[in-house]
Symmetry: none
Subunit: 244 residues, 4 copies
């Protein structure tokens, strides 16, 4: 029914960026959107085995939630908003999720899985071996950008998600660490000098990528290829230049 993504791939600014990345740099395989079929999330809240109708309803609710969070933010989203968008009823919601938090957890888990794929993809030797090249960096960035855009409502709300419940916080922390560590290892490959602490650097790169997307959106200039190229240059210079 409704497309599972808040922004359809066709209109997404950085999807363009991504395919550009595929040309310009090395694509990070496996980081693309995992085909999100109806079974993707087992049924976080219920033990019930879902039949196909049930699975469809659940998917509708998840997608609706994503739309609602995108429009009003997590805190200002009411169960009411979600069920209205999903064109279902209040009671039905609680057939699939035990509460709002549970719904959120399901979404974050989905996003976490995609993020872990990305981390896994990062965690492999550079194209030409040895020190990562500009094109490698550009590839990471493209992949991250894609992820960000796909889950923008969750990324935007990140800060608050963390305060909502411990289990959520744990997912977030693990995902963050996973990606940060993967980056750290890549950075370690090239860092000849000891002026740079690769642990710090990994997180700094992640921080920049994450917040840059948010800020650009905030000031009304969504990220484009030019911007991503500049980021790639900055990161490559700061980490790998002169280490040849």
């Amino acid at each position: 029914m409704a497309p599972p993504r808040v922004q359809s791939a066709e209109t997404s600014a950085t999807t363009g960026a991504k395919s550009a990345a595929a040309r310009k740099g090395a694509a990070v395989e496996g980081a693309g959107p995992s085909p999100r079929d109806v079974d993707a999330v087992g049924g976080p809240a219920s033990k019930r085995v879902l039949r196909s109708q049930g699975r469809r309803t659940m998917r509708r609710l998840l997608d609706a939630a994503m739309i609602a969070f995108d429009q009003r933010g997590y805190y200002d989203t009411r169960i009411n908003d979600v069920v209205k968008i999903a064109k279902t009823s209040h009671g039905t919601f609680y057939l699939y999720f035990s509460n709002k938090e549970d719904l959120l957890r399901a979404l974050v888990t989905e996003a976490g899985i995609d993020a872990q794929h990305l981390a896994g993809a990062l965690d492999r030797p550079p194209e030409l071996g040895g020190t990562p090249q500009w094109s490698d960096v550009r590839g990471w960035i493209a992949a991250y950008s894609d992820l960000w855009v796909r889950y923008a409502p969750l990324f935007r709300a990140w800060t608050d998600l963390a305060t909502i419940d411990p289990s959520l916080l744990e997912i977030l922390r693990q995902t963050l660490t996973l990606m940060s560590d993967a980056l750290e290892r890549q950075i370690g490959l090239g860092a000849s000098d000891r002026t740079i602490d690769s642990n710090t650097a990994g997180m700094a790169v992640l921080a920049m990528l994450d917040r840059f997307h948010y800020m650009r959106e905030f000031v009304g200039q969504p990220v484009d290829d030019v911007a991503l190229d500049t980021l790639a240059t900055m990161i490559h210079r700061s980490l790998f230049e002169g280490t040849a």
Copy 2:
């Protein structure tokens, strides 16, 4: 949840960083914590002219709010929490602020003023003229770090603040732009090559600094001098190295 991090400058983790910065790099003058006397905020919500007692109560409420936001986040803070911390009554709160949002606006305005001071301080020629040196960069970072720590609860909630009301959003957008532009100008001083779009770079630096603080706090390793040094090196390399 998070430890109450709203503290006097003397005990702040990164205050150490700051004084270190003063030694290691060039301090950015004027960016230090403006002595926050009782008159700082005129009286954002009320037209009432406040006498000294009234001003003190208002200050108590603002400080209490900062503590409460720090402990539970904006959304989970109840007016009740604020007045309890401020040791005053429910009714008194509404004597000074028309609602929670209004209170938030007052705090954000305060922070915005400090941020503008910082932006102003950034906007001056490097110590030795010409291209900014590592010590200059280290100075910026120290100043920003200080600001972040002082207003951590607000910075953390940034994303959501923006969704709360338009006037708030405007303050945030202006502040962000101001700082980003100041950085952009500094970056323009050194960028000999055109591979880097200094506008993008300015925001990227800001993004990195902002989110890095949040992430480190998030994983339980608050920012320290070592980290800030690494950031300085990364930024300096990415923007000014080889442009001598």
Copy 3:
């Protein structure tokens, strides 16, 4: 305070008056209590489509409000009082009305509709054609009296209702004008002399009827047939006597 006077037509004090009127004078057809079935008020506050259960609950709330307004007056009635009488919950109330004002508007609208029926019934030629006879006048009075008694709590509160919100004021003004104009036309039928301004006279008759009911109730002598007969005589004399 005042005895709960919201009763079924069968027990109403002036219903006696009305049936008396039917004997003594010409009944004003169509002005009787329209059978107030459950669908009477569509659903003033909500866009929700109500099923039969919902409609019953709404009716319960409307009736309860009438009782509560009768007992304590509009201003001193708490939502709490209404829901207690309706034997429902606080939350349910807000499912049907957006607030106390909205509830009031629904009631006034209902009353307005009945009043318009009455005005319509007034607006027809006298029984014998030509100048209205005493029995015609007695008929008007009986009909009005019935209306007043049925909606006594609203009539009593009239003055204040007008100050509550503009939409309410508009309903009231229209209803008043409608009835006043209908009377004016009737009066015009008989007024041979120009000493009497029939516009003024129409409103004066309405004023007398309305306030007389209130005052008698106020001094503890509810209106009876004797009183209504005297009123009929006064009005008939003042407007139509000697105009044969």
Copy 4:
């Protein structure tokens, strides 16, 4: 300072009516506005002996209340509104009145005294002896109209005042009875036939006069001489015509 009347005599529609009445009909002596000097209301709430400054403050509060009631109605008037208009402070209010009701009682008492004067004035033989003439009736009406206009905010709120507290209710009932009885006696002077119950008639006349003023104001056409003349004719006809 502020004129003690809500409408100054010069601009009042029916003050014109009154002086007209003085020409057209027989003035009802003693019913004019009693000169309302500063001592008029002793100090209903406090036992304190007021000095001249205190008396002035009290007067300011009473006048302010009248203005506020006129603008927003009794229920929507806050102590705050009153003290703002009186240009005094919250605390001061409670120096003179023990609460809002007390303030209201003071005003109603004032009005009650004026009304009793009017009733007394009514209670005297007609100008020419025997049956009251048109000019007598016109005189009553003029006097009543004056009273109504002067205390319009209270007359308008009448219905609700009655529900506020028993002592208020008592004042109102007495005043109403007093006037109604005076009228009844006048009517009795002329009623040759027994078709009319003079008790009913007295209250009916009062009812008409009272509500007519309100309704005309309500539809935006304040009472004028033409209207009062028509009322006089109607009342005279209904009660005294053909009884010569």
